[in-house]
Assembly symmetry: C2
Homo-oligomer: 552 residues x 2
Amino acid sequence: MPEKLRVVPLGGLGEIGKNMTAFEFGNEIIVVDAGLAFPEAEMLGVDLVIPDISFLLENRDKVRGIFLTHGHEDHIGGLPYVVRELDVPVYGTRLTLGVARAKMADQGSNAFLDARVVTVGQTVRCGAFRVEFFRVNHSAADCAGLAIHTPVGTVIHTGDFKLDQTPVDGNLTDFHRLAEFGANGVLLLLSDSTNADRPGYTPSEKLVGGTLNRIMVNAPGRVLVASFASHVPRIQQVIDAAASNGRKVGVVGRSMETVVQVANELGYLRIPQGLLVTVEELDLLPRSRVVILTTGSQGEPMSALTRIANDDHRKVRIEPGDVVLIAATPVPGNETMVTRTIDNLFRRGADVIYEPSAGVHVSGHASQEELKLMLNVVKPRFFLPVHGEYRHLVHHAHLAESVGIPSKNIFIGENGMVLELTPNEAHVTGRVTAGNVLVDGLGVGDVGTVVLRDRKQLSEDGIFIVVVALNTETAQLISGPDVISRGFIYMRESEALLEESKEKVKAALSDCGAKKVSDWSTIKSVVKDTLSRFLYERTGRRPMILPIIVEV
Amino acid sequence: MPEKLRVVPLGGLGEIGKNMTAFEFGNEIIVVDAGLAFPEAEMLGVDLVIPDISFLLENRDKVRGIFLTHGHEDHIGGLPYVVRELDVPVYGTRLTLGVARAKMADQGSNAFLDARVVTVGQTVRCGAFRVEFFRVNHSAADCAGLAIHTPVGTVIHTGDFKLDQTPVDGNLTDFHRLAEFGANGVLLLLSDSTNADRPGYTPSEKLVGGTLNRIMVNAPGRVLVASFASHVPRIQQVIDAAASNGRKVGVVGRSMETVVQVANELGYLRIPQGLLVTVEELDLLPRSRVVILTTGSQGEPMSALTRIANDDHRKVRIEPGDVVLIAATPVPGNETMVTRTIDNLFRRGADVIYEPSAGVHVSGHASQEELKLMLNVVKPRFFLPVHGEYRHLVHHAHLAESVGIPSKNIFIGENGMVLELTPNEAHVTGRVTAGNVLVDGLGVGDVGTVVLRDRKQLSEDGIFIVVVALNTETAQLISGPDVISRGFIYMRESEALLEESKEKVKAALSDCGAKKVSDWSTIKSVVKDTLSRFLYERTGRRPMILPIIVEV
């Protein structure tokens, strides 16, 4: 019996974020990407979410390497946690690994990154796998897709991509190599589904360059551009537009400073001599000769742009006549923070350009026509749409059907599923542990449903604590009840309610006494029920009620 | 000295929601609208937000009446709270008052609604004011704008409006009357700014009718349409499309049932005999002959569509082949809930049509060209853009400048400002109390910054309670310390941390003893600081720490 290839998505299916896929053949496993996701609204207090890698840890002897497609958080953000547990080489392009290293240093991670730089066009042998990196366009620089040659056939993983016909750095998605793969036969395609519900083509990044130029020509004062720090092509275009308009560029915001430095050192940015100036130097220039490049396009509370909008930035202060470009669309969940920032910028007198139709942002992901083209070029026997919410996977599956892939060869998967392939067949044969590991402060995985449920209740109605001291033997009340609440009601203005609560507790306790109830847990639950009913009746709220009995 | 007109916006400026404006002349005040807003993300546990009406309560003897423009929550939702405090007549069109009454009954409000029905074209005398209702189009039926004739001149308040040239009910926004007002001279225009940042014209509601028809022709199975219950024209179009396609309509969801009933009784819906059927009857029909009209276009957790998407609805269950139309765009803040519902519907096998480009929804608010037309028709001397976030007010002000209103005659206001007008002049002369009153359960205004700050901390890192019994005289430890946490860490898996915490507290207490500290508040703060430092160091989290000392 020939051996089979197993493909196991550990993240990125049914979600935008924490992309990670394992490929197993015989005694060897390779992993593509190790991303993080940002917490959903109900994950109160959680800082970030990483994939559950139990499957990899249970098979730690098999894991041969991690391959990174590009340097975005949703593809590399889980790396510090993963390499702490798995001591394997990490392969990626030079910029991707540079960014990964900078992020780990930033987080104070002391895990060792066994980084192996790969150039697009190169192939890495890793056990039974030969992994070839090929160029793709995306909203970052030095991005790669992977052709994974295995004993049962070739698997193409696009990574995040678009087909930009006029990329800023001139490096096209490698159609030629993709066509060769297609001609030679591809067993399975994993392709980026982010924009699978968008008709047509995603516009070229160059479109934004034109807009930037137009705005810089016309703006009477300073032009502030807020973008993702990781978007090197966008940064390049801001630099180019500033240079051709005789403006100098100041970089504001720590992550933007880091990326400009790393990308510049590694040769991914072309910055004319003297163009970059310090923020202090900007103040000496006429306002019409100034561009400020900054972060905060998502309205992040601590970001430079948010501080500027709140007139709370140490060095940059908006004046009427300044133009601010929000060169990004809000990531789902950030919409209200972004609009608040925009409103505050208007309040300071800035003109803010933020509408999607203004041409200050284009997506980094392929739309429907590009996705169909990818399918037609690669001509895979089997297809696994990845990187998307469930609806995106469904749309992508429909696109694949529309170009002639039989629906039985298309797999709308979920994290943890095991897709087993031979040269002629593919079946879902089982599932492994997969899911979310929540990171909160220093804790990785120690916040679960119980803690989140409590946080939810606390966040909505607060806590109401009642303290009584009871005689250990007789259960007689010795001191109290005292009540303390937090997040429930403003205590100073609610004395009558608090007094009544105490009376209710006293009555409940004396009732327990009369009935000779002396078991603490019964007494506690009587107190809890009494208070719960009373407080709901009076306030319509259900705070967490915590009876504390001190035995003396 | 002639008397002045004072215009005092109490809500709706710098926000979408809780619209309310007071007009004062001499000893008389009238109020336009009494809306609510939905809580922002940081208003944890808050149910809704109403305007602070201190200004009206301080002048309660002057208030003559409340005038409603239409029956949307952001214009009438505060009514139950306002009429509880202010016993004045409430004027509105028949449907608006019908909806207001139904809402109050729904909420169990026992406040009396002194409802006075006004037909468009009619004028109500109210003290020094003559208030004329005129027709406007919007995403509800029987909507009105108001011409407020005062001794110093005429004020036009558009309410929410668009200029639909082919409205579903055939009732155009009353251009003729607006032109007359303009010809006779208008002192001040207050106009809807919601879409002031959208170029062009808002498409006609009829566009959606075409889409509905096309989808119903082609859908092999049932068609579910999720819309706002208040959107009577949309409901009419669903009914029309169903009728012309030989489909029956079942109404699912309490608020949709209420509106269909009220609007039907009052004659605002034309429903062919036999078209409406019960949900039970739907099950007896072929799936291709069924339309289900429902709520939940915002992904509201308890709504019918959300339950259906979760396969958790008592009567409706998605089957492959069903088509679901989300005939609304997400209200800011609801985006993630909406996309989750869409994903879940896809999971059940439905085809979901939700893209803004699909033509299943159009806005109910005027875009830039319509807003300029309104300004040109009404030709106001002064202009106060209302109903919008700050950026919308700024855009609307720019539009007004572009049609020739001098910028000194345009007021970008904020809630609480007092705009004083004579026939020739307008000045902001001061401000009154205005702002948010938070409603949480039965409490109106009893949740403020302290409670919200506590809820925030509790929601992020939970609470850590330490209980000790100390001798009243000597401050010697008698029992404890005991520790309890909620929402901080899973206690059962953190015994070591809890034990160490107790040791830290013991050490701190014995330190206090050695230093002869016996004042409770000092002891508490020492315990708190000790624990706070220790827990942050070990977990990176900052739970609320509550030391409880029981004296015995």
